[in-house]
Each structure stands twice: as structure tokens, then as C-alpha cells.
């Protein structure tokens, strides 16, 4: 563990004074809308009720119940490098949906409050205003409220809809692939999600198709005392390509909210999926009160030869971020990538990283992780690189850099390596640096103001990750980090 102690960076008084002026979380508003919600609590009846509300086929309910029974046998894990108060699983409402859910093809008729909410979040949904070049699935609490550009996508055979619709309209695909990468028995939170998931996105890219639009899901938690358990499934058939974006926000609430999602990606021969996240869930106030628990299982499987899965994440929100977007490299010559920027401020905690499991021959993986800790936050990178005996001539490159801002935060790196094949090549680099007064003086003495100087340093630090993001997302990510860092150095 590296803790800055005696080095003179900034005096604490200035930090605190500046924190007062730090910009408030701008997505912290709530939407007043009539909701259909089921009573708090979790038992078999809850699951039947969710399934019934969604008018699901019998096989789906059975799968959920199997998951629930398995979940009951599991214990909540305690190994991460942070602590959190006990989660009362009976105190959560597992299904909360806006009452006037629009019909599939008439987003324009949706509750204006909902449309307004997403507009305020920068996600226009109506026909006239929707974003060009990006198809959006908007998830509000437990359900998808609409998907844009579906018709355009249908023309090339791309299926992009909520997972609830996929269960109704493409049951053969869902049945075949749901749980194929993250089985319900995978871990505590994945089992819980499998039992109670209420919505999420479904993408199917047919053979040889390069998806003409960026696909995107925007997750919004609104209701209090509710959890969000969404499930995303992306299947890329042979020779196909898709770039998928994910964004998230939540209102400011004093209670913690649980977000336990599962994302599964499967690529067949020569297919490629690029998955980008900008996560800005409410992180709690500066005393650490409230905020979202972001406990997510994200995994991709390169099933086919020469396929590629790339995760890029900018994690700037959530009271606790606990996730390891991973890649199973089964197909020969397949490629896995993980590019991450995790920023923690105030009393936030992050324990995030990746797992790269090399099974096929000549597989390669790249890990670039940038952790920025400020205030009293704690930021850990945890990663596993594993080479199975079958993974001839495979390689991994890992780079884990931490940056400390101020002198009360901490950064940790937990790299795990298991190499069971002597031909494997591994490179690991790690560094810890600080934004220091000398650096800032140098930049300001050339005419940059303090904020510009900080943002230049941070952008330089995160450059390798930002260049992996789609352009509009990169700009958003830079702005988000600048906003979060405002006043934390100075």
C-alpha cells in the first residue's frame, strides 16, 4: 500500500475549503412520476411476480427460480479491499417501473416526464431530437422505456432491444445464450441478478455485419429503496462488429442503492465487440453518506478464433465500485483488452480491474489501468491473468498506474498471475505518481490556470485509456473527470 504522508503537496485546510466550492453532482435530481412497484422483500413469490409482470415464458421463470435457490446457498463475499454496511436484501423493492410505459414503436407518446428526464441527462429519445449515429436503449429503474433507431438496425438484421422484448420475440436466442458466459451460479451477485433481473439490453449482430450505429444503453435509477438489476447480453456472430456504449446516473439519496448488473458478451470467429462505459452513479456526499453500490459482473468470451473483446471504462461515480470486466480467450488468436480509468473522491471506494483467462493458442491480452485517488478515497486495482496449459504462445501486457491527489487518499495494486504454460509471455508495469505542487507551478507559470493545469496532467495520465473511447464519450469523460477533480488540488 502506498500512502503519501510527509510530502508536502497541499495543506489540508486549502483542500477542505476548496471542497466546499466543488460542483454538486448535476444528475442528482429525481423524477416525480407514477410508479408501479412491488412490495419490498425477496422470496420465491417476488420472483414469480416479476416474471408474471413481464409475462415471461415458463422456462424463464424456471431459470430465475433455479438461480434464486442457488443464491440462498451462497454467502455474500467479504474479500474486497473495502467495507460496507450490511445490505438488507429484504428492504429492497425488486421491481419499480413507470406506470405509463410507452408502446414499443411510439416513444413520442411516452410520459413527457420520462422524456424530459432523459433529455436533462443529455439523452434525447424522441424521433425529432434523438442522437444521430447512436441507437439508445433507455432503462429507467427496472425497465427499458424505449429504444431508438430500431427500424434502421432491423434493415441490416441487427437486433437491439430490451432484454424483456428479446425474451418475448427472440426466445431461441435468449435461451441459447443467457448465462452462457456468466452462469447464474457464478457468484453471489450474479445469482441474485439472475433471479430478479428486470430489464437490460439485448444485442444480436448477425454474421458478417458491421453494426452501422453505435449501440448504447443509458441506465437511470430513480426510485428510492429500489435496486437496479439489469442484464445485458451481446452476441456477435462470425465476422461481425459492434461498438457498445453504456452510461449511468442516479439521484442523490441518503440511503445506499444497490446496482447489481450482469453483462455478457460472446464473440464468434473473427467477430469484435468494443464495450465502453462512462459510469457516473451518485457517489454519496462528501461525508460518505448515500451513493450507489455498483457491484457488477461483466464478462466476455471470445468463443471463436481471431475474435476480440475490448472493455473500456471510465468509473467516476458510485459510493463503491466493485467489478472486473473480464475476457475468456477461448478461440485461438483471440484478443482481450481492458482499458480503465477509475477516479475516487471524497470517501468513495473502488476495487476494480479485470480477469484475462487465456485458453486458446496465440491469445493476447492488454490491461491498462489508471487509478486516480483524491480526498479520503481508496482506489484498488485487482487483476488476474491466467494462462491455461492449452494457451501456447500467449501473451499479456499489464500496466497499472496510480495517481494520488492530496495526502489522505490511498492506492493499491493486487495483480494475480497464474501461468500454467511455459511459452506464455507476461509483462507487468506499475507506477504511482502524484500531482505535485512543482508540476502545477511549472504549468501555471506558463499561463495555464490551476484547473487547466490539473486537467492537462490528468488527461496526460489517462491518455492511453481515453484514446480507446469513442470520440463523444471521450469528451464527456474528460469533462466528468475535470468536474470531479475541481477544487481537489490547489
Amino acid at each position: 500500500m502506498i500512502k503519501p504522508s510527509d510530502e508536502k503537496i497541499l495543506n489540508e485546510k486549502t483542500i477542505e475549503e476548496n471542497q466546499l466550492s466543488r460542483r454538486e453532482y448535476q444528475y442528482g435530481f429525481t423524477t416525480d412520476i407514477e410508479m408501479d412497484r412491488i412490495p419490498k422483500g425477496l422470496n420465491e413469490e417476488t420472483i414469480r411476480l416479476i416474471s408474471e409482470k413481464k409475462n415471461e415464458p415458463e422456462w424463464m421463470l424456471e431459470w430465475r427460480l433455479k438461480a434464486y435457490k442457488h443464491w440462498l446457498t451462497l454467502k455474500e463475499p467479504t474479500w474486497p479491499n473495502f467495507e460496507y454496511g450490511p445490505i438488507d436484501y429484504q428492504g429492497i423493492s425488486y421491481y419499480t417501473a413507470p406506470k405509463n410505459k410507452p408502446k414499443l414503436d411510439s416513444l413520442d407518446d411516452a410520459d413527457p416526464e420520462l422524456i424530459k428526464t432523459f433529455e436533462r441527462l443529455g439523452i434525447p429519445l424522441t424521433e425529432q431530437k434523438r442522437l444521430a449515429g447512436v441507437a439508445v436503449d433507455a432503462v429507467f429503474d427496472s425497465v427499458s422505456v424505449g429504444t431508438t433507431h430500431t427500424k434502421e438496425l432491423e434493415k441490416v438484421g441487427v437486433i437491439f432491444c430490451s432484454i424483456s422484448e428479446a425474451i418475448q420475440n427472440h426466445p431461441e436466442l435468449v435461451k441459447k445464450y443467457l448465462g452462457a458466459v456468466v452462469p447464474y451460479s457464478d457468484n453471489f451477485f450474479a445469482a441474485l441478478n439472475s433471479a430478479v433481473f428486470s430489464d437490460g439490453s439485448f444485442c444480436y449482430i448477425p454474421k458478417g455485419v458491421t453494426c452501422p450505429l453505435e449501440l448504447s444503453t443509458y441506465f437511470r435509477i430513480n426510485a428510492a429503496e429500489s435496486g437496479q438489476f439489469e442484464r445485458t447480453l451481446i452476441i456477435a456472430e462470425e465476422g461481425s462488429y459492434v461498438s457498445y456504449l453504456e452510461g449511468c446516473t442516479a439521484p442523490m439519496r441518503d440511503e445506499n442503492q444497490l446496482h447489481a448488473a450482469v453483462v455478457e458478451i460472446l464473440t464468434l470467429d473473427n467477430a469484435e465487440v468494443k464495450y465502453s462505459t462512462v459510469q457516473n452513479w451518485y457517489a454519496g456526499d462528501k461525508e460518505g453518506k448515500g451513493g450507489v453500490y455498483n457491484f457488477v459482473t461483466k464478462r466476455g468470451k471470445c468463443e471463436g478464433a481471431n475474435s476480440k473483446i475490448s472493455w473500456t471504462q471510465v468509473e467516476a461515480g458510485s459510493a463503491i465500485t466493485w467489478k472486473y470486466p473480464s475476457v475468456i480467450l477461448k478461440g485461438d488468436n483471440s484478443i482481450g483488452e481492458f482499458y480503465s480509468v477509475a477516479l475516487t473522491s471524497h470517501k468513495m471506494e473502488a476495487d476494480t480491474g479485470t480477469k484475462m483467462i487465456h485458453i486458446g493458442k496465440n491469445t493476447s491480452s492488454t490491461i491498462v489501468s489508471k487509478g486516480i485517488s483524491t480526498d479520503e478515497s481508496n482506489n484498488s486495482y485487482r487483476g488476474l491473468v491466467k494462462f491455461l496449459p492449452s494457451a501456447e504462445n500467449s501473451r499479456n501486457y499489464s500496466q497499472c498506474d496510480s495517481m494520488l491527489v492530496g495526502n489522505k487518499c490511498s492506492a493499491n495494486t493486487f495483480p494475480y498471475i497464474e501461468a500454467n504454460n511455459p511459452t506464455a509471455t507476461l509483462e507487468h508495469e506499475a507506477s504511482t505518481s502524484k500531482i505535485n505542487a512543482e508540476q502545477l507551478f511549472y504549468l501555471t507559470s506558463r499561463g495555464l490556470d490551476l484547473e487547466q493545469a490539473i486537467s492537462l496532467v490528468i488527461n496526460g495520465f489517462c491518455k492511453e485509456v481515453f484514446k480507446e473511447l469513442p470520440l463523444e464519450f471521450a469528451t464527456e469523460a474528460v469533462k466528468l473527470l475535470e468536474m470531479k477533480l475541481e477544487g481537489s488540488v490547489g
Binding site: 507551478f441 506558463r446 495555464l448 488527461n459
Partner: protein, 252 residues
């Protein structure tokens, strides 16, 4: 151009006084050198002029004159001083990983433009401007495409400082022991750069421990700093005397 009066200062949070009443006036078109033994306060003076927050001024003033306006700069932030035309070439230029030198220079240049109500330059135009400055300084360095000062040689770091000076075109320039750690060839490039940049409208304050830099950058005045005070001010011959006899004869 700049008038320093009775300047007293110490390190922030440490009461030991380092500067004990400095008086110094520098006019446009002049080059002044400050020499002195280690620990005499030379670098402190340059950092205070540039606005380093690690030092606290307890008494005195630094008045900078530009466009017939006189401003006490002590209350100004480092960036405000820079935008007004004050520049310090660092003794130890700082690394900024991941940020290319050209982007850094353009960002700084545009900030100065903005402060003077001049249109900012786009990347293309700036590139041309930068090339012209590099040609003038006889620098064909590729370092402008590398992250600021990261893995630069000692010579490259100092040349980068002079390049920044050329790009930002300041009025008052402080060179803080720019010659330290330089071989003779690099020193000549740096000195040639300064001589090319010098004109009747700007001024230089060259801080150095050794006389040799002053063979290349010839000062109009040489000041000897000792224990936080200027104890002697003369023409350029003073530097030669120091070279020959050391500092001791001045201190007794």
C-alpha cells in the same frame, strides 16, 4: 520594467528569512546577472518573481511595468504574471507525462493570446508558428512530439525552456541557473537563443553560480547576492573577478 524594493521572504510555514531586503531595478533592453554562493537566495528570488506559492513575501514589493501601467505583481497568481509577460526558465524543468510538448506550448500560448484579446491559434497555424521559432533557435528537435520533459536529456530540457520563451514572447525573462548540468555545446545553443530573443523591449535576469555562461550572454550589470542581500553591483567585469578570486574576498 521591473522594480524590486526591500524584498523580504521566507519559505511558507518556515520562519527562516531567506531574502533580507533586495533592491533591484531592471530596465527594458538590459541584461542583469545575479551571482552568489550556494544558499545565498538566488533561486528563491527567481521563484518569487514567478509566483511560486511555496514562498511567502513578508515585506517589500515587485512592480512590473507594461504599457505604461505599473502593477505590484506580488498579489498575482503565477498564471497572471505569465500572461502579463513574466517568464522563468526553470533550473529543473518538470515532467508532464502523456502531454506532448507541442500541445503544452499551444495551450500556454493560447492562454497568453486570450489574456491580450488576441485570437487563439488552431493546431495547424500554431505548428507553423512553432516551426518558425525552432528554426530561429536552430533547433530541429523532435522533442516537441514527446511528452513534456519526460526522458529528455539535460540539454533538451533547457532548450525546451528557451523554446517556450521564444513561443510565449515574454517581456521579462528570468533564467534560473540555466547553465547547471549543461555541456558546452548545449550551453552555446541556449545562450545563442537568448541573444536572438533579446531586443530593446525585453529584459533578462540571468541567475548563475558560474561565470562561464556570462561569456555567452553578456550582462550589462552583475550583482552579487549573499545571505539574502545584494552586496555589490557593477559591470560585467565583476563576473570575471569572481571567476578568478571566488566569492570570499567579497564577503569579508
Amino acid at each position: 520594467m521591473i522594480e524590486i524594493k526591500n524584498l523580504h521572504a521566507h519559505v511558507e510555514g518556515d520562519g527562516t528569512e531567506i531574502l533580507k531586503g533586495i533592491d533591484l531595478t531592471i530596465n527594458a533592453g538590459e541584461i542583469h546577472a545575479i551571482m552568489g554562493p550556494n544558499g545565498s537566495g538566488k533561486s528563491t528570488l527567481s521563484k518569487i518573481i514567478a509566483g511560486n506559492p511555496e514562498y511567502e513575501v513578508t515585506e517589500g514589493s515587485i512592480v512590473f511595468e507594461r504599457d505604461f501601467k505599473k502593477i505590484d505583481i506580488l498579489e498575482l497568481e503565477p498564471e497572471e504574471r505569465a500572461r502579463m509577460g513574466i517568464f522563468m526558465a526553470f533550473q529543473y524543468p518538470v515532467e508532464v507525462p502523456g502531454v506532448t510538448t507541442s500541445l503544452f506550448l499551444r495551450t500556454a500560448f493560447n492562454e497568453v493570446c486570450k489574456a491580450h484579446g488576441v485570437d487563439e491559434m488552431d493546431a495547424l497555424d500554431f505548428n507553423e508558428y512553432l516551426k518558425s521559432k525552432m528554426a530561429m533557435l536552430d533547433m530541429d528537435d523532435k522533442f516537441i512530439n514527446r511528452p513534456v520533459n519526460v526522458d529528455f536529456s539535460g540539454g533538451e530540457k533547457k532548450r525546451n525552456e528557451i523554446l517556450q520563451m521564444a513561443v510565449l514572447n515574454p517581456m521579462f525573462n528570468v533564467l534560473d541557473e540555466t547553465d547547471s548540468g549543461l555541456d558546452i555545446d548545449s550551453m552555446r545553443i541556449v545562450a545563442d537563443g537568448v541573444n536572438k530573443l533579446k531586443n530593446d523591449n525585453n529584459a533578462f535576469l540571468v541567475i548563475t553560480h558560474y561565470q562561464r555562461l556570462l561569456n555567452y550572454i553578456v550582462p550589462d550589470y552583475v550583482h552579487i547576492l549573499h545571505d539574502g542581500k545584494i552586496i555589490r553591483s557593477e559591470g560585467k567585469e565583476l563576473a570575471l573577478q569572481v571567476e578568478e578570486k571566488g566569492y570570499d574576498w567579497l564577503l569579508s
